[in-house]
């Protein structure tokens, strides 16, 4: 008898699951996202926008004629996985569009750059149009930083605090030319 009831219950559950309808809709990519309190799209966008706008006001950027910057790693010192490359890519895009900074190839893109140079030096390419060796331009400034988080959790409350710190270093003399921080706090309450 109980086996029969169990079988019926299992069948009912399977039917209910089958009937549950998934709905997919497009959303606002720039809307406020609060699905969970882990690092999200709104955090990424706010950090990138705030940092890029702040850097554009730095005296070294205003006074220099299109300074050349290379982007180094933003170290993830949080307890969760964050693609920090996405943060620096967004900052780079915003600055590039703003037209105040030029970017030199960074460490991550160096291998592809040298491979392409070598490829163009091969016999397959016309010598007069091929990119020459020894013409790459070095960066005057390097952009680096780190992101940290402090997570506090009690029974029904989880509080997450993120802080992104970016620094712009002068490659020639080692001086720190600009630095700024962006802080974000998110709190989730259950129930």
């Amino acid at each position: 008898m109980s086996a029969r009831i169990l079988a019926l219950a299992a069948l009912a559950a399977a039917l209910a699951a089958g009937c549950a309808k998934d709905t997919t809709r497009y959303g606002d990519a720039r809307g406020v996202e609060t699905v969970t309190n882990t690092f999200g799209s709104t955090d990424l966008q706010m950090m990138a926008e705030s940092m890029a706008r702040s850097m554009q006001q730095a005296p070294v950027i205003i006074s220099a004629n299109l300074p050349i910057v290379t982007v180094q790693e933003v170290k993830n010192k949080t307890s969760e996985y964050i693609d920090t490359r996405a943060i620096t890519d967004s900052i780079r895009s915003e600055l590039q569009k703003g037209g105040k900074v030029r970017f030199a190839v960074d460490q991550a893109g160096m291998q592809q750059q040298t491979e392409e140079l070598k490829r163009q030096q091969s016999e397959l390419y016309a010598k007069d149009s091929a990119a020459e060796m020894g013409r790459m331009v070095g960066a005057q400034y390097r952009l680096e930083g780190n992101i940290v988080s402090i997570v506090k959790e009690v029974k029904n409350v989880k509080d997450v605090y993120y802080k992104l710190n970016l620094q712009l270093w002068n490659v020639r003399n080692g001086l720190l030319e600009w630095s700024d921080e962006k802080e974000i706090r998110k709190t989730t309450t259950r129930g």
């Binding site: 720039r30 406020v32 706010m46 554009q56 006001q57 569009k97 703003g98 037209g99």
Partner: protein
């Protein structure tokens, strides 16, 4: 001699009176903010001209706005006032406009902010490009 002092004091008072009204503005600007041909004679007029409230109405209002130049970029400071006894959550973004009245930049992301009860919060914005010559502050309740 006493008369000379009185005249000087009167001149200073007159100057101060002029300065508190709108400052020494360039034509087409009010409180440092670009206004084009719009008639702006007070802070309220400026805030009304530059602020757009979307979505649900809230007790949070922009009540002061000032602009300045950061290099060739526009920097905007806006005071938001929460005149209620509860904490309010808002989101804001700036819309940057070019010389032709078109968007000078893609739509910014919404930035959530929290305002404590009966309090003020200053939000700042900087234009992303020198092509931006005007702006609108978009406010939205995030409750």
């Amino acid at each position: 001699m006493k008369m000379k002092w009185l005249v000087t004091a009167a001149a200073l008072a007159a100057l101060a009176g002029c300065a508190t009204k709108k400052g020494f503005e360039q034509p087409g600007f009010a409180f440092g903010c670009p206004i084009g041909d719009a008639r702006v004679s007070s802070m309220d007029d400026l805030v009304k001209a530059k602020t757009v409230v979307e979505g649900r109405r809230s007790t949070v209002v922009a009540n002061e706005m000032r602009c300045t130049k950061a290099g060739d970029l526009i920097k905007v400071d806006t005071n938001l006032n929460n005149d209620s006894k509860s904490v309010k959550r808002m989101a804001y973004k700036f819309r940057w406009i070019d010389q032709q009245g078109m968007r000078a930049w893609e739509e910014e992301s919404w930035k959530p902010v929290l305002l404590y009860d009966n309090s003020n919060l200053v939000i700042s914005g900087i234009s992303p490009t020198n092509k931006a010559v005007d702006f609108r502050l978009i406010l939205r309740s995030d409750e």
